[in-house]
């Protein structure tokens, strides 16, 4: 009889194979590097909890046909420790043969000992399944934001992502964007603008190494009533995982400071000149969200990126208004818990979730395993 059981090292080759075919949509075999990483991430995750484990669906003949990656994440609420588990990678092979495999994996995961079950990458099918399990979809955490910096370059980059040959349009886009930039000077805030207070040099941004991030993450999330219970060792591990996302471009980690050197926020994004940058994390002291966003856009503009995109956090939404940022929905952030009071904290944006408090820090999102 088929069963759900904990993921084990012996399952790695099959899970890596499914990852390539189902999620990466490629026929190329899984590399040793990918296999090693799957083992590292799901058998020895940064906040290892022996009771919160990744799961596999095993057919009656003993072959693995489904996987659900679980990442433990201790959280805290007013000094109280909560166990949270982030559902990362979820995939089923041969759906026609095992039509209930995905449902069984999700049900087994949600029946775990954690106080909170979370996901930030649920597609439409997964979202429907979570809903049926009485989970709560969080609209304010589920939106993607997009800030176009160079409109012509953005159009060319978007076209190139669909049709490779369209990359030849990029050289034509640059003079057009330069023209648009000159035309807009002296008028209302425009693409690649920097807010006046920043232009006066009130804020600056500097490169942040891992130790600086380690110091700032707890400080800049302290105002959220519910947040990860950051431990130096495990936060350091998450930062290390997030160092590289080769599919997105070079990694940028900057701290935004006032003139007197006080850190008011940080941003982490990946991207190269002419491309669309991916923002994995923005943190800001209360009231300084706009300044941090402005520094980030300015930094990306100076590096020649054509746009930035990232996941919304409710705490940033207000500051994003008026900064020519658009919003769209790509995947859903969802919470499942037996305690309605905890859901209210997510609904009201008082929980720090997504990005480093999710699964975006992991290399499976945006990195290559050549």
């Amino acid at each position: 009889m088929s069963e759900i059981r904990p993921f084990a090292a012996a399952d790695i080759p099959k899970v890596a194979d499914m990852f390539q075919r189902i999620l990466r949509k490629t026929d190329r075999p899984a590399t040793p590097s990918l296999k090693a990483y799957l083992g590292e991430l799901f058998l020895d995750p940064p906040d290892f909890d022996p009771d919160i484990v990744s799961l596999v669906h095993v057919r009656a003949d003993g072959s693995v046909s489904g996987f659900l990656g679980a990442l433990p994440m201790p959280m805290e609420l007013n000094g109280m420790r909560l166990r949270a588990a982030v559902c990362g990678t979820m995939m089923v092979d041969g759906h026609a043969e095992d039509p209930f495999a995905g449902a069984r994996l999700l049900r087994a995961f949600l029946a775990g000992p954690q106080d909170l079950s979370l996901t930030e990458t649920a597609n439409d099918v997964s979202t429907a399944m979570w809903r049926k399990m009485r989970a709560t979809v969080l609209p304010d955490y589920s939106l993607e934001w997009l800030r176009v910096i160079r409109p012509a370059g953005f159009a060319a980059a978007l076209a190139a992502s669909r049709f490779g040959a369209a990359a030849m349009l990029a050289p034509l886009a640059r003079p057009l964007d330069a023209f648009l930039h000159r035309q807009g000077k002296g008028t209302e805030p425009q693409w690649s603008h920097v807010a006046p207070e920043n232009q006066n040099g009130a804020f600056s941004d500097t490169e942040a190494d891992a130790e600086r991030l380690l110091e700032l993450f707890p400080a800049l999330t302290a105002n959220f009533p519910m947040r990860p219970q950051w431990q130096a060792e495990t936060l350091r591990a998450r930062i290390a995982h997030a160092t590289r996302k080769a599919n997105y471009g070079d990694g940028i980690r900057r701290v935004v400071s006032t003139r007197d050197g006080r850190a008011i926020g940080l941003f982490i994004y990946y991207g190269n000149k002419g491309g669309i940058g991916r923002v994995v994390q923005i943190l800001a002291a209360p009231g300084q969200e706009g300044a941090v966003i402005d520094r980030m856009i300015d930094h990306a503009a100076r590096r020649g990126l054509v746009a930035l995109r990232g996941r919304v956090q409710p705490a940033l939404l207000d500051a994003m208004m008026g900064r020519r940022i658009g919003f769209l929905h790509a995947s859903s952030s969802i919470v499942h818990t037996r305690d309605p009071a905890l859901i209210d904290l997510f609904r009201s944006g008082k929980a720090f979730f997504n990005g480093f408090a999710g699964e975006s820090w992991a290399r499976l999102i945006g990195d290559r395993f050549d």
Binding site: E3, I4, P99, F100, A101, R104, M129, K132
Partner: protein, 88 residues
Amino acid sequence: MASSVETAIRAFIVENFLFGDESYKLTGETSLIDNDLIDSTGILELVTFLEERFSIRIADADIVPANLDSIARIDAFVNAKLGESAAA
């Protein structure tokens, strides 16, 4: 004659998977999977319904086509579970 369990199951399937279309030829043996009436999402809805409606606990290992692919199978499965509860 249909049991009250079977009647409740049929009503649930017609309402939720056929959107109230009672003209659909849904026999006791009609495969819910082969006829695309149920998928991973639907099965979660069905299991939740069965647990709440009949006060039974459905284990993960019970969620297989052999137990849940037709009204007759679901009926037999639920009655077996109810029998277990009564015997306990």
